[in-house]
Amino acid sequence: MAETAETLLTVENITLRFGGVKALTDVSFDIRKGEIRAIIGPNGAGKSSMLNCINGFYHPQEGRITYKGQTRKQMRPYEAASQGIARTFQNIALFRGMSVLDNVMTGRVLKMNSSLFEQAFFFGRARSEEIAHRAKAEEVIDFLEINAIRKTPVGRLPYGLQKRVELARALAAEPDLLLLDEPMAGMNVEEKEDMSRFILNVNAEFGTTIALIEHDMGVVMDLSDRVVVLNYGEKLADGTPDEVRSDQAVIDAYLGASH
């Protein structure tokens, strides 16, 4: 990533507490436009909490988040979504009662404007929107190669495919910033390779900025432009994969952990 790249999101001095427990302590870093930014760290390092702060699900007690030049203390999840932040979840959070296609279509909900009246009678914008957005959803489906299962209820899909559908749902929102919470957790080698390829393609094709949490160091090092390392809610290191890899504090933390 070019050094001159514009910053998309900055978190400054974020501290998040649950009751007396500190999940995050004074964490600061930035995400540049167009980069793949990894957040790594051992279990319980506060990675998911960090993402939850960014997209407004948790409200940090201290610190500020600047996104697209606007600084705020916190956002509502709805606002975050409408500002172009989409995400996937560590534990799959698909709409299990719906088909793959409907899940992806749901990802486009913010882009649809037809009135209740139009929807009730399925005319005008309701009709044209359904068709236009179906085409967009199909592009995402094609992109992620889930054509063969588009009408399958997601509950019937194997784990790896569910993860991919979740990514599809997030992509359908055409986000500026895509937050991926352990996109490769629980996958086998082949599935991981597929998912890595998709992530890189998303970044390259759509120019989407990606922040991802990942456990697997190898994957992170291959995928990301820059890495921030968290440990026990505090920032341990920040830099390119090579810098982070050779950072003594990181080595110590990881030697202590199982990875």
């Binding site: 199909e138 489906i141 992109f143 393609n201 390259a204 094709e205």
Partner: protein, 653 residues
């Protein structure tokens, strides 16, 4: 609707122009893309081809140049073929699953100037050999995904070529029509490389006249019309796809459809329900196997219904199909079966609307063949070759039999020469093997007869029977005829045998190496609670051997009754520990066994078959789909089979 005047519209570009005028608003091509069947009419198709041809011209494509299309069946690739033909250039389709080296041979041999590649995967392959292909100046890709960062100047996106072509067309608005008009029926239309079981592939040059004459013949033979639908799913590099999908749709004006992907093929087939369908036997075999496997799980009543009606269908179905007299009760029962079983089954397989189906390329198991025909599907056999622009023989309606490949097609002359080899002569006979006069001379006689390389005979009713490759027919030590393919085909008709390789030329007796069908046998083992960890383990199970031995005994009994074949009963067999794969060089890309390669690779096993060993240790390399390699090793058991009543048959002679 009668066919157009083929003397005037004597090239495919002219036919396209004709169709755009005569049936501009009818669908020419469909593609399952983004979830629906995107449809292109003849006039849209003509406009697209026009722009693309101009685009190619803009890229410097000249009359007589070769271009190559590489990829799955996609409208854009077919349009590229059409556009090249419009300019008088010759398209050379390449198998999309060939590796870079195989590709290099063809691209180099044909001096290909432009490659049209479907996607990144194909572009990467071509790029990896680009340095060795000095004549190749341009690569056009259809799907830009993953190619954004490719900066090579000779790499163009299809849309860009199209846009440039439109601009070009505006400036030189007479150019395209002049080019089309300049084409003649005797021009090279397409070049298909035959994979061949031995040696390097040969480029078969077919003219427009070849393709159009044969295509029109088959259309009239089966009364195809513009209302037919065909699904183009077989490799574009195979001449059959080119003639049946692309060629015949241009002549008859019907619509050809491309599936979404190979994964969704069966869904797409079911949705589309083609009326005219062409498939090699293995597709029908897979269908039948899957029907039987799926019915295994059905409830008792459903199974009973299924088998009752199926038995009935086997009894009268073909007679009804052939329009022969059948009793009223049987007809009513068959009609009931149509409602309960046959209709739904055809619907599930996507064959409901099928009027005419052909199977060719290999012998089809009589049971499979009869099964589909009994359901009321007009499945027929044909025999053909790339060198013949596909068709040599066809089975006329009402004369369909499982054991022949039909009568000489209209306009085709047929003869069997000394040594049993079949020869033919027709308007479809190819011009030449590209840059290979020796091969041309040895295949095609000066008066136009072509050696098929197949051994066979013509029976009293004029039907051709194919026994084997002429060069593969050998003799046992006893001097009796040994036709390995004949034996193998009989074995392959057992649904749980995937592939078989018979040996015995110059030996005392015939023996066979079997490849079991992983799906069918896996299912079989599961139902019997037989545990196994791998294909290798499954293939070595005594239970599996027992089953195979029983199949062989059954087959031997059958062979014993055929005077010419009684001597080649199988005495010993083994089950191969791995599937024969094209990636390991054991099969051709068209899924035919490479006999010599197998013989070399499995020499120790063949040795074991004849030295009386009860098992042989073997190590063999396997290539996985993703390119990784591994070694399969272990003991391969060898069993004996009794030669059933062969002695009696001989004694009776």
């Amino acid at each position: 609707m009668p066919l157009p005047d083929l003397d005037r519209h004597d090239t495919f570009p002219k036919l396209l122009r004709h169709n755009a005028g005569a049936r501009g608003n009818r669908p020419a091509m469909r593609e399952k893309n983004l979830g629906i069947w995107q449809t292109f009419t003849w006039s849209e198709q003509a406009a697209e081809v026009r722009a693309l041809a101009c685009g190619f011209a803009n890229l410097g494509l000249k009359r007589g140049d070769h271009i190559s299309v590489i990829g799955e069946n996609r409208p854009r690739l077919y349009w590229s073929i059409a556009a090249a033909q419009a300019l008088g250039a010759i398209p050379v389709p390449v198998y999309q699953d060939s590796v870079a080296n195989e590709m290099q041979f063809i691209l180099e041999h044909a001096s290909v100037k432009i490659v049209i590649a479907e996607n990144q995967e194909q572009v990467d392959k071509v790029l990896s050999i680009k340095d060795r292909l000095p004549e190749l100046h341009t690569i056009v890709y259809c799907d830009p995904r993953g190619l954004r960062d490719y900066t090579e100047a000779f790499l163009h996106h299809y849309d860009g070529v199209l846009a440039k072509g439109r601009d070009y067309d505006k400036v030189h608005d007479k150019f395209f029509d002049e080019q089309v008009d300049a084409g003649k029926g005797s021009d090279h239309a397409i070049m298909c490389y035959t994979s061949g079981t031995t040696g390097q592939p040969k480029g078969v040059v077919l003219t427009h006249r070849n393709c159009i004459k044969i295509g029109a013949m088959a259309i009239e033979f089966d009364k195809l019309s513009e209302k037919d639908d065909v699904l183009a799913y077989l490799p574009m590099a195979w001449v059959g796809d080119n003639l049946l999908s692309y060629g015949q749709s241009h002549i008859a004006g019907f619509c050809m459809a491309c599936p979404e992907s190979s994964e969704t093929l069966l869904i797409d087939l079911r949705e589309l329900g083609p009326t005219y369908f062409f498939a090699p036997p293995r597709i029908f075999e897979t269908m039948l196997t899957s029907v039987m496997i799926r019915m295994e799980d059905a409830g008792r009543f459903k199974k009973w219904l299924f088998h009752t009606f199926l038995d009935h269908a086997k009894k009268v179905g073909e007679r009804i199909l052939d329009g022969k007299s059948v009793g009223l009760v049987d007809r009513i029962k068959y009609a009931l079966g149509e409602i309960c079983i046959y209709g739904p089954l055809k619907n599930m397989l996507g064959l409901s609307r099928m009027r005419i189906g052909y199977t060719a390329g290999e012998a089809i198991g009589p049971e499979i063949f009869v099964f589909f025909r009994a359901l009321g599907i007009n499945l027929k056999q044909a025999y053909g070759q790339t060198e013949a622009s596909v068709f040599v023989t066809l089975q006329p309606d009402g004369e369909v039999r499982p054991d022949t490949v039909g009568k000489a097609a209209p306009g085709v002359e047929l003869k069997v020469v000394e040594g049993g080899e079949v020869m033919y002569r027709s308007e479809g006979v190819f011009l030449e093997y590209y840059k290979n006069p020796d091969a041309t001379a040895s295949t095609k006689t000066p008066d136009g007869w072509v050696h098929t390389g197949d051994a066979g005979f013509i029976d009293d009713s004029g039907h051709l029977h194919i026994i084997d490759r002429a060069k593969d027919v050998g003799k046992l030590a006893s001097g009796d005829l040994f036709a390995p393919k004949y034996l193998e085909n009989k074995l392959k008709f057992f649904p749980n045998i995937r592939e078989a390789v018979a040996v015995g030329d110059g030996r005392d007796f015939a023996a066979v190496m079997i490849n079991i069908d992983a799906d069918a046998m896996g299912n079989w083992a599961e139902r019997r609670n037989i545990a196994y960890a791998s294909y290798q383990e499954l293939s070595a199970l005594p239970a599996v051997y027992e089953l195979m031995a029983s199949h062989l005994a059954e087959m031997n009994a059958g062979l014993a009754k055929e005077p010419q074949m009684a001597a080649s009963q199988i005495r010993r067999f083994l089950v191969l520990p791995k599937m024969l794969e094209a990636d390991d060089g054991e099969m051709t890309r068209t899924q035919k066994v490479r006999r010599s390669a197998v013989a070399t690779k499995y020499a120790p096993l063949i040795e074991g078959l004849y030295n009386g060993a009860t098992s042989v240790y073997m190590e063999v390399e396997v290539t996985f789909e993703d390119g990784r390699r591994d070694i399969v090793k272990g003991n391969v058991p060898i069993w004996d089979v009794d030669a059933a009543s062969g002695a009696m048959a001989r004694a009776a002679e």
